[in-house]
Amino acid sequence: MSFAEFVHMGGHGLYVWLAYGSTIAVVVALWLSTRASGQRVRKELKMGLKRQSKV
């Protein structure tokens, strides 16, 4: 099986890649945003604590 055949998916390439692409994009985005919000909250809280300790 050549790479072109694999991409073509027997004529169903559009559907298969649309479904896989959207799923992969959404799952990766979900994971990244979960991590990012965690890091943001930690950072904000740490800044708050530093400010408190200075006062």
């Binding site: 694999f6 998916m9 027997g10 004529g11 169903h12 390439g13 559907y15 298969v16 649309l18 479904a19 896989y20 959207s22 799923t23 992969i24 959404v26 799952v27 979900l30 994971w31 979960t34 991590r35 919000s37 965690g38 909250v41 930690r42 809280l45 740490k46 708050g48 604590l49």
Partner: protein, 249 residues
């Protein structure tokens, strides 16, 4: 550790935060490995279906997402019950962090289903039973999300959403039944608990891998967002202060 001890410990967000860090990472790694394996297996190695050809491969992304968003709602209903009856703070947070995850997964399940429907049924949207109940599930998630946004006090928002999640869980079987009975076109469920799958193993094994993978993903996402939520809510306690100061910047 006995169940009773676990129960009491779950009442303490601090214990959960400190215990669950490695669990979140572990589940995340497991989810990544399983999903990559299952997806590649399904894309490359699994044979095409003799009727549907290669469009059949969409099953490996569609079924896991469609399964996990229903489980997420049920988990939310159980958590809502725990919060209403025992006022367990952690359960409220579970309800809160599951809504966005479930909403995204439901939307994804609907989208991949629609993409699969195009070559298989010859239409991008069909008012079929399972499609429709997924759509209703999405609306239920919307309602929960909107309700939480609309109530300013966090405590009240938590209880209101817990109650709504519980009402939703009681309704889901009735909705599913009524819709099933009104519109039916879908192929029967791939996995049932009581029967062996009707497809050959080389087709359902990658699906099983992806289903387990997506449940690990749910675990990882929920645990990670729960830990964030715990920090946010307990930010004035001394243990959070120590925890944050101890961590490398």
């Amino acid at each position: 550790m006995t169940i009773k001890e676990l129960w009491h410990r779950l009442g303490s967000p601090r214990w959960f935060y400190q215990m669950m860090g490695p669990w979140g990472t572990g589940l995340g790694v497991a989810a990544a490995l399983l999903l990559i394996t299952g997806t590649l297996w399904g894309l490359i190695i699994a044979p095409p279906d003799y009727q549907q050809g290669n469009s059949f491969r969409i099953i490996y992304v569609h079924v896991p997402t469609a399964l996990v968003c229903q489980s997420a709602y049920i988990m939310m209903g159980v958590a809502g019950f725990l919060f209403l009856v025992w006022r367990m703070k952690l359960a409220d947070m579970v309800v809160k962090v599951t809504v966005p995850f479930g909403m995204v997964m439901t939307a994804l399940g609907l989208f991949t289903g629609s993409v699969w429907g195009a070559p298989t049924w010859g239409t991008w949207w069909e008012w079929d039973a399972r499609t429709t109940s997924m759509l209703v599930l999405l609306f239920l998630y919307f309602g929960l999300y909107a309700l939480r946004q609309a109530i300013p006090r966090a405590e009240s928002a938590g209880r209101a959403c817990a109650l709504l999640a519980l009402v939703g869980v009681i309704n889901i079987p009735i909705i599913k039944y009524s819709v099933d009975w009104w519109l039916t076109l879908h192929q029967p469920a791939t996995f049932t608990l009581t029967e062996a799958p009707s497809m050959p193993a080389e087709m359902w094994l990658p699906l099983l891998v992806n289903v387990i993978g997506v449940y690990c993903l749910m675990g990882a996402v929920v645990i990670s967002s729960l830990r964030t939520e715990i920090l946010r809510r307990e930010c004035n306690t001394s243990w959070v202060r120590e925890e944050l100061m101890g961590e490398p910047a």
